[in-house]
């Protein structure tokens, strides 16, 4: 092992497979995670993300493959011989022990001197923002506070790896947003390599250095938030992460045909001829009034088309606007328009619009 190898990849999974009888929960997973990185496993339920986390924790044994952590092969090591802290969705705090006893649970066993334990507990409870709660029982804390204590307990022994199994799903929406930022800040402060499992794409996009998008036991894409969102590698990723219009069309000698709409883009010219699905995010369509004169889009631009509003779904500052266009008929599009734009232009159901799609944002599969 060279110095370079250990620092670039702290955790290395090679060909990890897991079968439950005839069902393949994980199919040949290869993944490397660097020291200090915050990685999210993102995917729908049943995609294998939790199984993968439990395999890393040693709570499940892979059917095949190998796992190395810090240069050590831990594939068949029992949990007690691995180096990680874990936080579960259910918190799993010991209800009959005080906050201090919970946090100290792993320290006491290591024969750390009592004063040292107490100092460390104080430090950790402060770190997670709950100083003074040491003598309380978990039942006296809110869900978010309990999860912070669970985090403190997991970090108490200074593990090399922090595993978070859907830590936020049991919390209400506001607490979820607050705590995920706290977890991120804490992780950067402590510098611990962290893996978080989540089915919430917003959560993954907002905190992770890298996102591992999984589906049906395979990794669909690994990348940072922007690349997963803007450059989805597979239709699944495009569909699962964020909202997207899916339009069935054809590629004809490098040209994209959807309904009456014709366009040659970088993506289309690379694609092979035949049936194709076009993925277009609702925010990648810009809108102007039709009668805007020079202020509107040039009608001869191949990316520009006219449309009529069919339905407006009010969501606050932004609206989902469902539009029908002769160019794309019979397919309909959803675009995001700001509420201000709609009011300014006095747009309602039945109003006409001139739309321009951003060709470089189109994905063709």
């Amino acid at each position: 092992m060279t110095e370079h190898n250990t620092s670039s990849s702290y955790l290395k999974l090679s060909g990890v497979r897991k079968e439950f009888g005839a069902f393949a929960a994980l199919k040949a997973i290869d993944l490397e995670i660097s020291q200090g990185e915050f990685v999210c496993f993102l995917g729908p339920s049943g995609c294998g993300k939790t199984t993968l986390l439990r395999i890393i924790a040693g709570l499940e044994t892979p059917t095949a493959g190998s796992i190395q952590q810090g240069g050590r092969d831990i594939t068949t090591a029992p949990p007690a011989e691995r180096d990680y802290g874990i936080v579960f969705q259910s918190y799993a705090l010991f209800p009959n022990l005080t906050v201090a006893d919970n946090v100290a649970y792993g320290l006491v066993n290591r024969k750390t001197p009592r004063a040292e334990v107490q100092r460390r507990v104080e430090e950790l409870v402060k770190l997670v923002g709950l100083p003074g709660s040491e003598r309380k029982f978990p039942g006296q804390l809110s869900g978010g506070q309990q999860q912070r204590i669970a985090l403190a307990r997991a970090l108490a022994t200074s593990p090399g790896l922090l595993l978070l199994d859907e830590p936020l799903s049991a919390l209400d929406a506001l607490e979820r947003v607050r705590l995920r930022q706290e977890i991120r800040a804490l992780q950067q402060k402590v510098g611990v390599t962290t893996i978080m499992v989540t089915h919430d794409q917003e959560e993954a996009l907002s905190v992770a250095d890298r996102i591992v998008v999984m589906n049906h036991g395979v990794i669909e894409q690994v990348g940072n938030a922007i690349s997963v969102y803007r450059e989805p590698a597979t239709p699944f990723v495009a569909d699962f992460v964020g909202k997207v219009n899916v339009l069935p069309g054809r590629i004809n000698a490098g040209e994209l045909n959807v309904g009456q709409f014709r366009l040659r883009t970088e993506a289309s010219s690379r694609a092979a001829d035949g049936e194709a699905k076009v993925y277009l995010r609702p925010e990648d369509v810009l809108a102007r009034p039709v009668a805007g004169g020079t202020a509107s889009f040039a009608p001869d631009d191949p990316c520009v088309f006219d449309a009529v509003i069919e339905k407006i779904e009010f969501l606050g500052s932004f609206c989902h606007v469902h539009v029908a266009s002769a160019a794309f008929a019979p397919h309909r599009l959803t675009v995001y328009l700001s509420l201000n734009f709609l009011t300014e232009q006095a747009l309602t159901v039945g109003s006409a619009l001139r739309l321009k799609l951003l060709p470089e944002r189109l994905r063709v599969f």
């Binding site: 092992m1 594939t75 949990p79 007690a80 579960f88 009959n96 022990l97 649970y105 593990p159």
Partner: protein
């Protein structure tokens, strides 16, 4: 880097065979304990039962005779007659008890009548005494010198000894068992169904037949089967009030103890095992269906006051409660009567006679020893066994069989278990032969006899704990036994007190299993009562049965106080206490 690549490729060919995690030393410790539990269950449950099976297929010289014993049994008209008697008496008790218990449970769960806790308490009285208490009481009511004999004869029943007495006494004895199942079934109601029905203007009767009854059908089935099995396998009541009316349970005793005909005895024992195994199988299936029926989203049903209905339920429940009190009351009254029926002035004559002359005093000491041993060791064994099964990992091949063995006692009538113990432990070449007729073996037999209920209580308590405690502990490098001691045990102490109380009271009142196993030195009180009755000292028998009921009641109270104390000591973390 090159090293890493070769290790990966070296692993690739292994892909065909699944990887196995190395076993941590602390898990090995758990496996050793689990093996210990398995050995106990094998030696004290599986082996005795196997001994019965073997006896049933062996001849006088222990040679294999196939079905010869069964054929010989079928050719004995008297024995077949007992089989028929057992079946129809059990059916009769089932058909009488279930509707009454259902009504009672309905009143307790679905009405707003007064004194519900009182009714609930009264309904549990039969559990405090050996089942034969009701038989003794009936003899005072309707026996040859009974005070209501004339009333009975006016109804066309010539005498209480025999089927009428058995049916009546069993109805009393099995009532709480049926009632508890039905209360559970009726409390598992989803209020939303009733609200939806009310919103559609459904009548009370229609709601009952379309929601309540279908919802309770598994409970009814399960209660009926349990009642049938309990009556089939009960020994004390037919022994005391059966007269010349023979049933399977008394046959086993006569065949084995009286005639030393082990082969036929084990054939009858297997016949007794059949309904119990059937009940067990159905109950297993039913309980899975019942839990599936009630989702986590269900809203528990709360009855609303309704003057007329509540009054009717109060009347019905009062009538049942009065009958139960009459049963206990007569036993108490008669036990204090100086010379029934001529001199009813109260005296302690029967108590003195029983305790001193009948040597039941010693029996009480033995009973208390056995009950305390059963409660203490039984609770430890059952709880630790359940913990190892539910919360430790590895050794998958061991878990299935141990789990099955833990459930098996539910399907084994005490009489059959006791018989198995004779066959197994009385065999001179058995290294455990030294245990035969000792209090230790009586205790072990009782623990095994009541193992399953304790096991299920422990499993329920353990399952309510977060399943990730052990995973968290392992990640913090804390071995499981430390978490068991610091977390699991303190949280589960209330459940353990519950298990201990159950063991204690049952050990005080059990007859069926231990009736085969005692020696004059280790005779327990419940058996001593049986002997007093046989000797014609029914007054003393009544007195001693009342004393057992009193001890059980007091110990239940003590256990409840203990539970409260434990609660305060260990459950402070539960909010609001």
């Amino acid at each position: 880097m090159a090293v890493a690549v070769t290790t990966t490729s070296a692993l690739a060919p292994v892909a065909g065979t699944a990887l196995h995690q190395r076993v941590h030393w602390s898990d090995r410790v758990a496996h050793v304990w689990l093996v210990g539990i398995a050995l106990i269950l094998l030696a004290f449950l599986a082996a005795p039962l196997t001994a019965i099976l073997m006896q049933a297929f062996e001849g006088k010289n222990r040679e294999f005779v196939g079905l010869a014993n069964f054929i010989a049994y079928a050719q004995t008209p008297a024995l077949l007659n007992s089989l028929w008697n057992s079946v129809w008496v059990s059916l009769a008790v089932t058909f009488i008890t279930i509707p009454i218990a259902f009504l009672f449970a309905y009143g307790l769960t679905r009405s707003c009548m007064r004194w519900k806790p009182l009714f609930r308490g009264i309904s549990l009285i039969p559990l405090l005494a050996p089942s034969l208490l009701s038989a003794i009481s009936l003899i005072y009511w309707f026996g040859n010198q009974g005070i209501a004999k004339g009333f009975m004869q006016a109804l066309g029943i010539s005498q209480i000894y025999g089927a009428p007495g058995i049916v009546l006494a069993e109805c009393f004895a099995v009532f709480p068992h049926a009632l508890m199942i039905l209360i559970t079934a009726l409390s598992l109601a989803d209020a939303r169904l009733y609200e939806a029905a009310a919103a559609m203007g459904t009548s009370r009767a229609r709601k009952f037949f379309t929601i309540t009854l279908p919802g309770a059908k598994y409970g009814l089935l399960s209660a009926a089967l349990v009642t049938f099995t309990l009556v089939m396998t009960d020994f004390g009541i037919p022994k005391v009030i059966g007269g010349n009316f023979n049933v399977l349970a008394t046959d086993v005793f006569k065949l084995v103890i009286g005639q030393q005909d082990f082969a036929k005895g084990s054939v009858v024992a297997l016949l007794l095992l059949l309904p119990a195994v059937f009940t067990f199988a159905v109950d297993h299936y039913v309980s899975r269906r019942q839990t599936a029926m009630l989702t986590a989203r269900a809203v528990p049903y709360r009855p609303t006051p309704s003057k007329g209905f509540d009054r009717v339920m109060l009347l019905c429940c009062s009538a049942v409660a009065l009958l139960m009190l009459a049963m206990l009351g007569m036993a108490i009254f008669a036990s204090f009567a100086s010379f029934w029926p001529y001199n009813l002035t109260p005296s302690l004559r029967h108590y003195v006679l029983g305790l001193v002359d009948g040597e039941v005093g010693e029996g009480f000491v033995n009973s208390l020893k056995m009950a305390a041993g059963t409660a203490f060791f039984g609770t430890l064994l059952v709880f630790f066994g359940a913990y190892l099964l539910e919360k430790t990992k590895g050794a998958p091949l061991l878990r299935g069989p141990v789990r099955m063995l833990a459930m098996l006692p539910m399907a084994v009538p005490g009489l059959v278990l006791g018989l198995g113990y004779i066959f197994f432990f009385n065999a001179p070449n058995n290294p455990l032969h030294g245990l035969y007729q000792t209090t230790a073996l009586l205790t072990l037999c009782t623990i095994i006899h009541f193992y399953t209920t304790g096991h299920l209580t422990a499993v329920t308590a353990l399952k309510s704990l977060d399943s990730e405690f052990e995973a968290v502990s392992a990640s913090l490098k804390v071995p499981w036994f430390r978490t068991f001691w610091r977390v699991t045990l303190p949280i589960c102490t209330p459940a353990m007190v519950d298990i201990a109380r159950y063991f204690f009271v049952n050990a005080m009142t059990t007859i069926s299993a231990v009736v085969f196993l005692y020696s004059p030195d280790t005779k327990v009180a419940s058996i001593a009562i049986l002997n007093l009755d046989e000797a014609g000292e029914i007054g003393a028998a009544a007195a001693m049965a009342v004393m057992i009921a009193a001890i059980s009641a007091v110990s239940t109270g003590v256990f409840m106080l203990l539970a409260r104390w434990v609660d305060r000591r260990t459950q402070a973390w539960r909010g609001g206490r």
